[in-house]
Symmetry: none
Subunit: 191 residues, 4 copies
DNA sequence: AATGAATGAGGGTTCATTCAT
DNA sequence: TATGAATGAACCCTCATTCAT
């Protein structure tokens, strides 16, 4: 098999393993078995477990692209973005579990914490920028604090990845996201 | 040393270990070293690692009592409650980390998931009840969806426990909580 | 409790433990529990596990007194002796099991091997003496080899202590003993 | 090294360990040392101690084949069989010790007791059949009780495996076996 | 490119034993 | 006399990793 393909196979096996058994439950032997190769082959492609985890993390980043739509009013862009994220979390349990595992692992892996922190910063900045733009354009209530709103959104999405909260309440979480947006977009005059 | 005292010491050592290295990074030998006893002593007090973890979990439940104040207007009660929770998470890093570890562990421990799920249900019900009461009493905007609001709060608090988000942004998180409350309590007429 | 009584209690508990779980399955904690005392008390009365085992061995010697009747013809004495031994083994399972355990332990305990060897030698000598006397007195067939006969008896009795052979076949073993004696005592002329 | 060879090596090391230190004295580390490998290698070939013991038991069954000769008169067949067995026990101390250990272990291992019991039953049945045939063919004294004789033989051989009896008296045991056979085959008329 | 064989380090647990009271 | 508390040593087993092929 082509070198890159086999590498991908093993990476996907690791990703699935992380989602299923967690980071610390990840065993090189299990990854090898899932990929249908010998354990030494895993070490042939990935020098160490850490390397394999790094590859799985890159796969996660590829899979979880929460992009802000480029076009539309701030309201439309925010709605599409947030509903897109929550729907992804609701529908892709493997991805959700992997996200939670990775996020938690940052507590013991400073380098990972740095990477995740940077991604968070970027996301927060995007959200703040969008909110500010909406404020400027008069899309929503002027009192909104962009930084606070951004943190609310990110914290909520992270909390939604936790094992117990979302699985039984997808409808409530969608409603919560919509309500959050509606708060922003409600014309004070209408209330 | 008195039996109960030594037991508590070891339990606290386990709790600290969980907060620092995570659940699966918890080593009986490390707990023993932290408590200043031999590893066999840990097994003298706790028959198994599982027993020790159960004791550490009970300690966590004792430490994290997020009670709803009994007196005051719904607005006052909600504010005190939510600010109390977020301040606890901000100030007690050990508790926050342990909470995150426990929450994540639920992914692989059905019994723990059941317990946490039940605690979540209770918290959500309390929040919904309080919001409904506020609606009835005209404390805030009638359009608020109690269930969605409750889920927003719980998800946000859970997200705030994650390793990367809160530590560098305590002020933003407090502001986010306050803004959430203010949304509820803002008299539409004022906007 | 009087010192001697408590010692006996613990010794009996050890004996029962050996019969039930075997020598290597003997645990000081189990002995203490069976005797209803603290494990440290066992060490108070017996300095070490080895000492306790020695006491249990002495108890075994007291319980298993296979004495040769003093009176009667050689035939009568031999019959009474051998049937007495086999009946003891059949009826007292605890004793039989303890005997087997002790005998086996001799393989790893030279001092015990010496003691058991001495007891065996004495028994063999008694048996040979009795057979020789019978031969002299014309009680049975002259061709009998006293040493071979004695070894046959002792080996057979030891084999009867093994866990699997006797329990289901007490009648066969009694018959075997009787046939052995009858071979000796059958007057050639009668055959 | 080839997989099967190393497996055999480790199995033989375990067998020798059982013969030397007994079943419960068997240590994975000792087996590894005797085989000249790391302890993890033992677990690489045998998933658990139990598996290794099972392999050692199979080796014992292979080594101890006490087959009844197919040809000859009943007398000849019985003699060859019994002298073969006793000579094996006399000359192969390791096998004898392992047999004793296995037999004793049956006291605490019901499944092993079942297997050994079945092997005993088969042996006893063979012996009874041979004796009955001899009786029918007039090879020996008609009064002989086949079941009692068979039990005598088996108990004796088991007793001969015990640590203390045989080692110092191989000649007596051979003589005992021969005498047992001679009793059967002695023509009453000759006595 | 891929693997079977082998290992060092470290994991939870058990046990006889000690010691202060 | 008797014990609860504490321990060092040892046990079985697992894991990521290495290496010759």
């Amino acid at each position: 098999m082509a070198r890159a393909d086999r590498r991908d196979e093993i990476t996907r096996a690791a990703f699935a393993g992380i989602a299923e058994k967690g980071f610390e439950g990840l065993r090189m032997r299990d990854v090898a078995a899932r990929a249908g190769v010998n354990i030494a082959t895993v070490h042939y492609y990935f020098g160490s477990k850490e390397d394999l985890i790094a590859a799985a993390y890159r796969l996660l980043q590829d899979r979880f692209k929460a992009e802000l739509p480029a076009d539309g009013t701030p309201d439309e862009r925010l709605s599409a973005h947030l509903l897109g994220v929550i729907d992804t979390l609701i529908s892709d349990a493997e991805l959700r579990r992997a996200l939670a595992e990775i996020a938690q692992r940052a507590a013991r892996d400073p380098e990972l914490a740095r990477q995740i922190g940077a991604a968070e910063d970027a996301w927060l900045a995007e959200l703040r920028g969008l909110v500010r733009q909406g404020v400027r354009e008069g899309s929503w209530a002027v009192e909104v604090d962009p930084a606070a709103f951004a943190v609310t959104v990110v914290a909520m999405m992270k909390g939604a990845c936790m094992p117990t909260l979302l699985p039984g309440r997808p409808a409530e979480l969608r409603a919560a996201v919509r309500q959050l947006i509606s708060w922003l977009t409600t014309d004070p005059g209408e209330r």
